[in-house]
Symmetry: C2
Subunit: 315 residues, 2 copies
């Protein structure tokens, strides 16, 4: 008996979730595991908020706000408005429907269940059939070291200060001691694993926290499965978010070459957008495909392209 | 220097809040303290919900839903709807705007502040200038002993089971050990205290938990200030809620006479509605006034009548 091929996707928030949704359209539920960054997670108003997990859950559950790529569709903001008028904290945008997920998650976590178990439960409640797992059940928190404002929690930097402070360095609290979530460890150990896709998420804010877990980086280095990374940089800019800004602050050019270097110890191929084809021509580390996902067809095509590349690299 | 006369109102939820609002229209902020039942309080979804305090806060803050008498005006239910569709707990009606108050309260309590301090803060945020205090800062929880369903938490009985189980007895967890909140103790000790009004709240579910605190019952017995209680029973029925049903289950006739007996050790006068005048004619324990508060003028008139009665009983 041979088991069916399986694919692992590593995802951050919006960009990652969009490719994960494309992969979910190509692959059967049992053939895809999506491991999601938890470095952005934080405690707020007594709730544990997991922005990247939520974005992936909402995207695969078909309830995401399509335009912004995060949060829920047809969202309203009555609780947040009332919080504001009561002088409460309103800097983190919590929609009324989104809040329901956080309240349910809080209750499940309070029952002593792991984040993996809670995520599986929430997936079921959102009718998501593909497997979404946190990269770890341990507490892992991205810390942003800024040039002028000292060390900030991730959401303090990302939402409250809108990524304005210049970044000097990033550290990942808890990563050294973190073990992989059972679902991620299981798929990495599966001989049937046929491809690992690093989704086009911010390499510093979304992928680096995951790679900071020693067991993951080691597994990516030694795996027999081809590792395909999609660059989130298109024409020197990020489609969304502060990737390019942070790269410049850290003194690196925002190009796919830097992505290839960041992932050099484990990546088999970095996919760059067709508009950047000339920049990587002749370099065997790269492949070219349309990476800008504006609609479901774009996601599906990019997912297919990644899986095709994995088959070629393996074969 | 003589201090100005001061009035203490003891209030449960809807009926109590309406008379408290009437008193607040008659009396200056420094002349009125409203002490509120906390026996209904409970922990739900990680939040501490204080239904009676909330009802008094919303009523005096002018944001209450006027028709139902509790919850917020112009309320929406998107979070609760989303909770329901996620299979979460939806039996306790939490509106989107109401939820904001609970989230702010949770945060203030998590800072280690007492319920009195938090209530004072929330009053300020809701532009309430009269003083609202919990009857105690200690944990006090009404337990409902039913004939067929055993012992239930108050909200489990009141909301989840809609007061359907027949009541055998009520107990008040924590009452024996509870001390009065600083604001309530202060007004009870003030020589300028000129009247104590027991608002028309359910004597078993709303007033009894307060009276179960030994320090309060003793203070009511020994105070020099007249104690005026407004009966919540009109024509053998309660204006709102299960008062009459519970009285029948406990084997007592739902009449103002029972109210006078329940409060016999401390009450100076029980106010009954004009429609019940013939039932209490000639009995010096009673006074008659219109007690059904359908609008602001009714509240104002009943508040005036209570204060007039207190002056007469004192003089």
């Amino acid at each position: 008996m041979t088991s069916s091929p399986r694919v692992l996707a590593l995802s951050g928030g919006v960009g990652g979730a969009r490719l994960a949704a494309g992969l979910a359209r190509v692959l059967a539920p049992e053939a895809l595991t999506i491991a999601v960054n938890v470095g952005d997670d934080f405690e707020h108003l007594g709730l544990t908020i997991c922005p990247d997990l939520d974005t992936v859950l909402y995207t695969l559950g078909g309830v995401v706000h399509r335009g912004q790529g995060w949060g829920r569709d047809q969202e309203t903001w009555h609780t947040l408005d009332a919080m504001r008028s009561l002088g409460g904290e309103d800097w983190f945008l919590l929609g009324d429907r989104d809040l329901a997920l956080h309240l349910v998650r809080r209750q499940l976590l309070a029952q002593g269940r792991s984040l993996s178990e809670v995520t599986q439960d929430l997936s079921r409640r959102l009718d998501v059939s593909h497997r979404i797992v946190p990269v770890t059940d341990a507490r892992l928190r991205t810390r942003v070291h800024t040039v002028a404002d000292g060390e900030l929690g991730f959401q303090d930097y990302f939402v409250r200060r809108r990524c304005q402070p210049a970044v000097r360095a990033l550290t990942f609290e808890g990563a050294e001691e973190a073990t992989l979530s059972p679902g991620l460890a299981e798929v990495l150990a599966d001989p049937a694993l046929s491809a690992i896709i690093v989704c086009p998420s911010n390499p510093y804010l979304s992928v680096a926290p995951m790679l900071a877990i020693p067991a993951l980086r080691t597994a990516l280095r030694v795996t027999h499965a081809p590792v395909i990374a999609v660059s989130p940089i298109i024409g020197g800019e990020a489609v969304k978010g502060p990737t390019a800004k942070i790269m410049r602050e850290l003194g690196v050019e925002p190009t796919a070459t830097v992505i290839a270097e960041l992932y050099a110890d484990f990546v088999d191929c970095v996919v760059v957008d067709t508009c950047d084809a000339s920049r990587v021509a002749g370099d065997p580390r790269f492949a070219v495909a349309p990476t800008w996902m504006r609609n479901d067809d774009d996601r599906f095509a990019l997912a297919q392209a990644c899986l095709d590349l994995a088959r070629q690299r393996k074969g």
